[in-house]
């Protein structure tokens, strides 16, 4: 008996070892490196030159605009994705016949088969001078500028992240016991009241998961703002690319990174707390 338990423990350890090693080498170690770098100084030729100083953190306000943009546009983009994705997921889960469901779901993922880079290039054209503004001009509305505005970045975000929002919500709506909707109707709930009181609260786990996925990824986004924001609407991600690759100011880049990680930890844990507290239904995990 004891032997069994002992070998069981060994097996558990052995099975967990690859993951633990991966986390250690790929996550914990780089984080420590970044943390150490952030207190260092830039070498004359770029890179890291050691030392201990808080100078990099004192310099953070110079990237205030990037933090502001990220902290406004990432939540806004998450919310906008939710508003677009929910009706779509609702339609797919509750209104579409079984025979069309799969094909429509596949259509939601199809854009993912091409690189986001290529698809974002396409949006540069669509939103650029010869795209939608040209069309608007054709019908008499002139002077519309879309590209290189926060609006363009938001459009790009909703486009790029929609499936990440649609799928978790779709799954939670698909799992929803449809007789609950009949029960609500039977008890006098109009379709609207049924949606507010039954459908929406029971799809909260999906909403929470979708928002978390999109928000976390958006906080580190750099491609969409770089292409559709044209240097005017830049995220922390863009600042990091710039600091590490262009000006090679590693310590300052590290300080920005650490700040970003701290902000994410705080917002995500606050968010988890909130959703856990208002958690509805059975023990449905958030992720």
């Amino acid at each position: 008996m004891r032997e069994d338990r002992k070998s069981g423990r060994w097996l558990t350890a052995a099975l967990l070892a690859p993951t633990s090693l991966w986390f250690l080498v790929m996550l914990i170690f780089p984080l420590i490196v970044i943390l150490v770098f952030s207190f260092g100084e830039r070498a004359a030729v770029g890179g890291y030159a050691g030392g201990f100083t808080l100078e990099q953190y004192a310099n953070l306000p110079s990237r205030l605009k990037a933090f502001q943009n990220t902290l406004v546009i990432a939540p806004a983009g998450t919310l906008l994705s939710l508003l677009v994705a929910y009706p779509l997921a609702y339609f797919l889960a509750l209104r579409v016949g079984r025979q069309y469901k799969l094909i429509l779901l596949v259509l939601v993922i199809v854009p993912f088969w091409t690189s986001l880079l290529v698809r974002t290039y396409a949006w540069i054209f669509i939103l650029g001078g010869r795209g939608i503004p040209a069309l608007l001009e054709f019908i008499g509305i002139e002077g519309v500028r879309l590209i290189n505005t926060p609006g363009a970045v938001l459009i790009g975000i909703v486009y790029g992240y929609l499936p990440l929002m649609v799928f978790p919500i779709f799954v939670s709506l698909e799992k929803l016991d449809k007789t609950l909707l009949e029960a609500s109707s039977d008890l006098g709930g109009s379709p609207f009241k049924t949606f507010i009181q039954v459908t929406l609260p029971l799809s909260m786990p999906g909403i929470a998961t979708g928002c978390m996925l999109v928000f976390i990824l958006l906080m580190g986004e750099f491609l969409i703002p770089a292409f559709l924001g044209g240097g005017k609407v830049f995220f922390i991600g863009n600042a990091l690319v710039d600091l590490f690759l262009q000006s090679r100011n590693w310590p300052f880049g590290a300080a920005v990174s650490v700040t970003l990680v701290v902000i994410m930890l705080i917002t995500v844990s606050l968010y988890m707390r909130m959703t856990l507290r208002s958690k509805t239904g059975r023990d449905e995990s958030l992720m």
């Binding site: 007789t179 109707s185 039977d186 008890l187 006098g188 509805t280």
Partner: protein, 377 residues
């Protein structure tokens, strides 16, 4: 019976030539029926016979393809379920998992326009909890409750709205046997207390027989027979009903005398059996296929040649199996030419010298008044 009150003739639910099709499947086929106010009415039949669809037509989850459904004298065709004065207890209860017991029960009241005051809702919820013997369970989560308790919450959630009619869709199917028996009694008591019409859908004939005032037996979307449990048991109009309601022995044959007060058929073995035709059964003519149906408790089992009454019909055979059931003993007798016959012998006449073992040669007999001659359809 609850419908023996003054308003006994008032009709609560009525179907007039109702047909419901799902694409090319006819789920309910030209059904007309009336349910009296305060009755305990059951739809009985195997799965796919249209009983649940009938219930859903009353609830308003489905609309009839043809015909009219009336609730309290008014046609409700086209009226959605949330505007109908009926409530349903679902098979798997369909309790809202994100609400506690009290919020589940108060759900119907909160949908009212105008919404009753909070205090009023709380008071009514407490009263209803008490009615279903769940006082103090208001703050529990619904999934913490046992099956029987969930069942009662579902009942309370429907009854708090004072529906004109309560619809029950196989409400006891998910419970174990003992609990089911308890809930059957509880449901009956509750129905008498609240005095509203109960419409039950079940495939369990015992459940329907023990609880209902009236039963409607369905097959393939049509009503085969409706009547009181006693009528259905004593006078089934065809083999389907006789087979569905209680246990019955059937012996097939051809009609040889359809004229007299008693109808006679000749079985394959050449023996002639007589019996009456149940009232309301379709007429049969000489040469038709028919069968004689005899309930196992109407048959007497004796030693060969001991049959007392000369008018009795007697078949000889050999006991194949004996099952002791407490107050009854069930014998299975392999007869000469008439297949296996089941006999239910009450304990009162079972004694040492009248008990039979498998292998014993016996006579089984019944009086002609115990036999029914019925057609296959």
């Amino acid at each position: 019976m609850a419908n023996s009150t003054s308003n006994s003739n008032e009709i609560d639910i009525e179907f007039r030539s109702v047909t419901k099709r799902f694409e090319d499947v006819v789920a309910v086929d030209n059904v007309s029926l009336k349910v009296e106010r305060g009755a305990f009415f059951s739809f009985l039949g195997p799965s796919g016979c249209g009983k649940t669809t009938s219930l859903r037509l009353i609830a308003g989850f489905d609309q009839p393809s043809e015909g009219d459904v009336y609730i309290g004298g008014k046609s409700v065709v086209g009226i959605p379920s949330h505007k109908r004065p009926v409530n349903m207890v679902f098979q798997q209860y369909a309790l809202f998992p994100h609400m506690d017991v009290a919020d589940n029960i108060g759900y119907g009241l909160r949908q009212r326009d105008p919404k009753p005051a909070r205090q009023e809702i709380l008071k009514r919820v407490d009263q209803t909890l008490e009615m279903v013997r769940l006082s103090g369970y208001g703050k529990r989560r619904v999934w913490e409750l046992s099956g029987g308790q969930q069942q009662r919450v579902a009942l309370a959630r429907a009854l708090i709205n004072h529906p004109t009619c309560l619809l029950l869709d196989e409400p006891l199917a998910a419970l174990d046997r003992k609990l089911r028996r308890e809930m059957q009694i509880e449901l009956q008591t509750l129905q008498r207390e609240v005095g509203i019409t109960f419409i039950l859908v079940t495939h369990d004939q015992e459940e329907a027989l023990s609880m209902s005032d009236r039963i409607c037996i369905m097959r393939e979307g049509q009503i085969i027979q409706s009547g009181s449990p006693r009528e259905l048991y004593d006078e089934p109009i065809n083999r389907y009903v006789a087979d569905f309601v209680g246990k019955t022995n059937f012996i097939d044959g051809d009609v040889v005398d359809a004229i007299g007060p008693l109808v006679s058929i000749k079985s394959e073995s050449g023996q002639v059996f007589s019996g009456s035709q149940p009232p309301g059964a379709p007429p049969i003519a000489n040469g038709n296929k028919a069968c004689v149906a005899v309930r196992p408790e109407m048959i007497t089992i004796t030693n060969i040649g001991e049959t007392s009454n000369a008018t009795n019909i007697t078949i000889n055979g050999q006991v194949v199996n004996r099952i002791f059931l407490g107050e009854h003993t069930e014998y299975l007798v392999a007869t000469e030419g008439c297949g296996e016959v089941m006999v239910l012998s009450p304990k009162s006449i079972e004694s040492a010298n009248r008990s039979f073992e498998p292998g014993d040669h016996v006579s089984v007999s019944w009086g002609p008044e115990a036999a029914l001659i019925i057609g296959d359809t």
